[in-house]
Point group: C2
Chain length 396, copies 2
Amino acid sequence: MSTPSTSSSPARRGSGRGQRVTIADIAARAGVTSAAVSLAVNGRPGVSDATRARILEIARELHWEPSPSARALAGAPVLSVGMVLARPAEVLGNEAFFGAFSAGLQEVLSSRDYSLQMKIVESAEAEIDTYRRWFAQRRVDGIVMVDLQLEDPRIPALEELGRPALVIGGPGHHGTLPSVYVDDALATRLLVEHLADLGHTRIARVAGTRGYHHTAQRDESFLAVCAERGATGTLHEAGFGALGAARCVAELVAGEQPPTAIILDSDEMALAGAHVLQESGVDIPGQVAIASYEDSPLARMHRPPLTAIGRSAVEYGRRAAHRILELIEEDRGAHRGGGAADGRDAAEDARPELRAIEPELIIRASSDPRAATDPLLLAVDGDPDRTVGGSSATQG
Amino acid sequence: MSTPSTSSSPARRGSGRGQRVTIADIAARAGVTSAAVSLAVNGRPGVSDATRARILEIARELHWEPSPSARALAGAPVLSVGMVLARPAEVLGNEAFFGAFSAGLQEVLSSRDYSLQMKIVESAEAEIDTYRRWFAQRRVDGIVMVDLQLEDPRIPALEELGRPALVIGGPGHHGTLPSVYVDDALATRLLVEHLADLGHTRIARVAGTRGYHHTAQRDESFLAVCAERGATGTLHEAGFGALGAARCVAELVAGEQPPTAIILDSDEMALAGAHVLQESGVDIPGQVAIASYEDSPLARMHRPPLTAIGRSAVEYGRRAAHRILELIEEDRGAHRGGGAADGRDAAEDARPELRAIEPELIIRASSDPRAATDPLLLAVDGDPDRTVGGSSATQG
DNA sequence: GGCGACTACTATAGCGCTCAAGTAGAAGAC
DNA sequence: GTCTTCTACTTGAGCGCTATAGTAGTCGCC
């Protein structure tokens, strides 16, 4: 009963294995040509509402879904977004951020029937090469570029390609490409002001590797806010990773005028730093306060729990997904003769549009002693403990 | 100079935007037809070695790469592997395992020019539906299925589809499908024997959610090895996640005859348990030893560092990638009329083939006091500290 | 020295879709 | 009533590849 009425077209099928029902079946059933079906399912004008409804109904009935390959070959979008990671798999495995970020990306992309292609490469050149090939092969409709550097060769490369590409990171240094970023200046301000409010006047910032855009951003903002609040701010480069941070913190506390507060670039670094302090018998937060730019289950579960910036990498990924989908949409529209839906001017798209994500300060006991009293059984709840010690805070 | 010599075929090009050089260009340059080029680049017989070399050379010269869409449409493999995750993005973000596992997958797949499609869904039905659609649309060549359950509805569904599919988890409960798994029985043996060797006689196992295949596997093995060694083993279900583990451990140590050693299902759980003990003033490993089934940077950096099973999720992913690629290859061969390369019998493939990954015990100070002396600055090295305390161990 | 078997290709028909160009039929304008 | 304009389609040509059937040319062999 779900087979087409036949008797008109010959039994051309029979190759079996895989695809069965095609656009032709739907067309035959609806008494139109395949072109009409195409217009109908793609929501384009050219068919009456009645016919469109009929076609869609039949498509649903026959469980038909257009073949992505055929679509792509014929020039339609391939429904795929690409992301390249220029880091060894081993390092990625240790990165809480990427797992969460890509999970957020996936979630939104999947819901729109897009898929995410990921690739791990060795170098920036290989990454650029991958972008070229992906677009040349029409393997992706757009790119999400991560790990923005200060003088990033990928930016001009992507600009030259002229295809939808979204930069994660900024503001600044992303050329004419749109970007989504966490406002690191604000994040830094939240952290420093929180520590200053608690009376700290010697604050150290232990940074990861230079060259990354966000690192520079934080440096600058850190010094500015320290100056503003009359605190002595010092910068230290430790490289990302636990070892560097541990060494750096060890040196700091062994110094003549050790800082009373230390801000570290990641959770992993902050935990390593905290362990060094604890092994040296330094009380946290009594003698030295600790805060991190990254919140994660580790931060929550550590004793004392770490004050951190919650930037919800999952949400970050979701935002990025929405943005790149918009870009692909715009590109599609622009190339189809000036915009099918809205009459937006193509030239207007030239502006390097940005989207920021608001950072949020999560105050815990590693900086604020008033937050130190909660028993673990309450603190490790599945939900983020923004209410620990009753002194939670959100962005200003 | 890189444009074809033309003068023969008309200037049919001009649509621009994207793909430029096609198989026809290569064919024209080489003085053969596109079919010959196809045979050459796909390593199939039918062209002389000389011609093949010439064609490949020209292809390289012109930077030509076959269009995946066109290939797929014409019936070739789409060079894509799919993986569906039926968990919320938020949970995935907290999961160290999946980030690392998929990084390993990616790495190998990328190197063979395959891509990995990931999708996040809500339920097992949605997951099965995705498999159906992916294969029907020819969006993937094969599937990697994770999170094997005891009575898993996805197994019969995938068996029915009859396409390449690899189960992560086992042994057992994966029907006729091939699988790659960590040998949880051996892992359990390593953990229990290590603790028994240290003189523990009351050992508790705090397990995650029932229903997962590996949980059942561990339960069984745990009781068996405990019995073998004359130790009292008790099972406790806490659910995955920190909170459940914390509660469970709190109850355990408050009991009349508290265990002297606790094995927990994951790092997160073990850390939560350790914190509970530390807050209760219980010495680790003096009064209670702690061990975990999962190694991660957290385990390494905790004080005391956690004894754990290192199963290298990255390597796990790599193995899975190799296996699913093999399966796809076999499927290809089988469907092309009995095998182009090797004369393997198709019926032979029916055997449910397995591949195991050897677990490895990493002894640290949470169980063995002799490993407790290293300063943090050495312990948090970027490399896994299999040598901490000089008492490292590998699988037996 | 004509037949079969093999090699090394060619010719051509799709795969399932999209898109530009074309057309029948109705509606409106004068 | 003829001409234009609009809607709602149809027609047909690809997109770039693969696969199957077919065909020259070579070789061996009694």
